[in-house]
Symmetry: D2
Subunit: 305 residues, 4 copies
């Protein structure tokens, strides 16, 4: 199937929504994003890529990196990671400390900030000082794009203002659920949030999850079939913070969003998809990105349900 026409239609239909959301502004580097950008890419399992708009503009992937670090940790540690982090929707704004306290330092799932810090801690336990380069190399490999790099200025800026994440890390360390040095954990965390990618690279990076865990272009198995399915289930129930239920209801696909306006999603056995538009809704998800994905599933009639 050729998705070019559908992507063009979507690009046209989302136009009236520009101006209804708000670009993230908690650090200057994010605040200066152009609110009128919109890019979208579909990569099918048979190797075709369809794109529209600003799909080759790079942006820091922010929380989307949590999918890739989770995949890495899951592939190295298997089900042992679930002793350190839960698998339930959080039912609270994504940076809340309440639930963390209630559950004795165990984050509800790997996609809230606390959970992603624990996953980062696991990768440091595995890779030591090579954690940063191992994370970037993993992304270069699964997207077959060796040029992927990191915006160090954003990483530095986020870390300098990252008091809430520092609070989370210290809090979990008090419960014994962070094993490595807090500074290092925060350092690696903000580093992988600042990885620069564009929509094309993202759709290529994610579509192994639609392919039972195997990277289609290289044949490399990243996760077992069962692990891939389970990770997709987790994305569906927890991938969009406190709006995960609404996203499942409206879009019906496993996905993950980031505060810079990107969202990745996939249709099992079919394709990986990515969208980017910096204006956010009240839940911190790309307002136009969600609408674009809703239009995509409506127009194609596909959904997992």
């Amino acid at each position: 199937m050729d998705y070019s026409g559908i992507l063009e239609e979507i690009k046209h239909e989302i136009k009236p929504l520009f101006g209804q959301g708000k670009v993230a502004s908690y650090i200057p580097a994010l605040a200066k994003a152009d609110p009128n950008k919109f890019g979208m890419t579909v990569t099918t399992l048979d190797g075709n890529t369809y794109e529209v708009g600003d799909s080759k503009d790079t942006f820091t992937i922010q929380s989307i990196s949590k999918v890739f670090t989770l995949v890495q940790a899951f592939s190295y540690f298997g089900d042992a990671i679930w002793e350190r982090v839960g698998r339930e929707p959080s039912g609270n704004p994504f940076n809340s400390l309440v639930q963390l306290e209630h559950e004795q330092g165990t984050p509800r799932n790997p996609f809230i900030n606390a959970g992603a810090l624990v996953i980062t801690d696991l990768l440091i336990s595995e890779f030591g000082d090579n954690a940063k380069i191992e994370i970037v190399n993993f992304l270069r490999r699964i997207s077959q794009d060796s040029t992927i790099d990191v915006d160090l200025e954003v990483a530095f800026s986020e870390k300098s203002n990252g008091y809430r994440n520092a609070a989370l890390a210290n809090f979990m360390k008090a419960f014994g659920n962070i094993k490595n040095d807090i500074e290092q954990v925060l350092d690696v965390y903000f580093y992988h949030c600042s990885i620069l990618m564009n929509c094309v690279e993202l759709s290529k990076s994610i579509h192994f999850l639609a392919n039972h865990g195997i990277v289609p272009h290289s044949g490399e198995r990243i996760l077992t079939k069962s692990q891939a399915k389970r990770l997709n289930a987790l994305l569906l129930t927890c991938g969009l913070y406190d709006a995960s239920g609404d996203f499942a209801f409206r879009v019906g696909l496993p996905g993950k969003s980031g505060v810079s306006g990107g969202i990745v999603a996939m249709i099992p056995q079919k394709l990986g998809i990515s969208v980017w538009s910096p204006e956010l809704d009240e839940y911190g998800n790309s307002l136009i990105g969600i609408k674009a994905l809703e239009l995509f599933t409506t127009k194609t009639g596909v959904s997992i349900f």
Copy 2:
């Protein structure tokens, strides 16, 4: 495909789990359930039914009724119901008042008790004094079984001890989110929780959700295709209380559980499935029922992901 062999295998494999859970005991009528019961039924869209064990034993469906009342309300009121109840996982034990207070009387989703009371209130607004009979008739129709009835002793017993649900109803009434008389809302609520069904009836009742909203045997459209998909999404993210994420992770199907040990689930475009075993896990879901469904998806290789 003939599922008989798989069901027999499952029945054999779950045997060692008897005794590991606990039968619900908050009212005598539930406490006297035989802990060694196990039934399972698959009804495919082409009209075949496969069953194993105690699949013709009836039990009060308890919270499984929340799916059917939601379907009825959704079919009558459409998206207007989302002004009265949310669509997000609750992230809290199923009977918690905390979140309800935080969100000003709007329940997080229609499957927690508070949400089901609001849905019941909507049905009373629609049907008035006929609410009870309309709910039972709906079930008789979609399951093509005119013998379905209600255990009035259980309904009475639950209402007599239902202080927590009375608290929820009063609390939401204080916020204006219950419109009818509280006594009537509780009366209808405990009535539909006490509907008596067996596994065969349940799998037949649920499988229109796997068929884009149309009852296969009668051709009656209950929900639009889009509504059916969305309801399935909701079941996946919220159907098993605070263990919804874990159920999605392990089983990967939309489903709904009840405290008497029943679970219904479905595979879109394929089949409806039901299982019953009274012993519960720590989250109030059938311990053996969940395991049986996990075995089913593992053995058949099906999943929505």
Copy 3:
């Protein structure tokens, strides 16, 4: 000491504050209170009464009744009441359910609504169907005023709208901390909240707490010296809902407020004091009443600290 001059000064100084608060409006009977009313009375242990303004206008005493019912329950059951209700400040708005859930149905203290319902339940266990008349008679006795009566219209109106208190009662009943019939508990509760008193009667009713538990004019011992002291401590830490700390800080006296704008307080070994002005601050306490008491302690230089 003659307090007449000080009371006149206070009446003059609080004038600019009229219009800064808001009269309670959750039931019509309260909403129609004249916002410009102000009365204040001091009754000294040697039997003198000093009054100013509308000190002979009656109003329903609302939550101030919680002091008197607690005193009755304490005198009948002694320290056994602390098995049913706590003694700690609530740290939450006065009608919150959160803490009640956290503490398994045991209210934090007898002055939040949940706690007062438990105390009412205790009095019903003691007096049965005579609970209402026993409560009113107790007030008539300690104030030496046989004309004290109840505004039944207010009682009825409050009960008809009292969904939140009904929620609390049902919730505690679910935990086993309400022993009698919920309807009766709510009935007696709203009845004693609707007792009609004026400032003179209130200052006379409260000043036995300043006198080591003995009613000065009659010599009747209501509480032991130790009990009276302890009850005063409880008033200081918990008497003004979520503003108790601020009241202790600014006024420095044990006291109790009601939503109709009344406040009672006392200076141990010296006097009982009451003030009434219907406009409330954001915490539900009389805005002018608190200011008047602050002026009183500043002008007289008295305080317990």
Copy 4:
């Protein structure tokens, strides 16, 4: 009045309680405290000191230092400090993050850890790099004891394990309620918690609060009369963490406890009092210390109520 006899009686009567509490063990330096220690001292406003037991053994004063840093901040900044910290009981365990989140980074009162960190931050804004020495010098001055010093090993050990306080500081910094460098705030905080004092020094240090803010032996005014009264009110409502209500009920005096087993309290216009015994109750307060103070008020008949 000569309090020697009463102190001896108390020392005798508390003996059966040894072994019922638990010495704090979160750092080794505290864990090695001798559980059988007991000291108590009364310093009257006329300059007499009465002591019993191990009243000259020093211990790190821990949270008792929060009274003295608050006094310093109050004397420098006046009521401006209440823009940074509240005055209400916390209603939650002393190190809870929940309430802090709910109230946007403003601690409920200056005696919970979060509040004490804000007060420490204020002192650093005032004194800069001299904050540590200014705090110790203040204590030397008001106790007229120039030998008071700090246990640097304890300070270092607490800081090395102080992840929860680091979490609090980072969390409040995220809300803008910590102005200085977090490391410095934590450094000064753990320093003043590790000040070494004995019961005699403590009772002398606290008794200016019983004397309207003036140090009796030197005549130095530390706080205005009004400020002293208000600080006493704050101690009564908030000084013993989540057991403040119970302490007010049982003891009836303004006081402050520390995790090393010390408690200071005072009777306005009469005396300062201190007690030390390392075994703690479930709330983290000295089990024997509280009992000793209860016996003291019972035996002397004094109380503020």
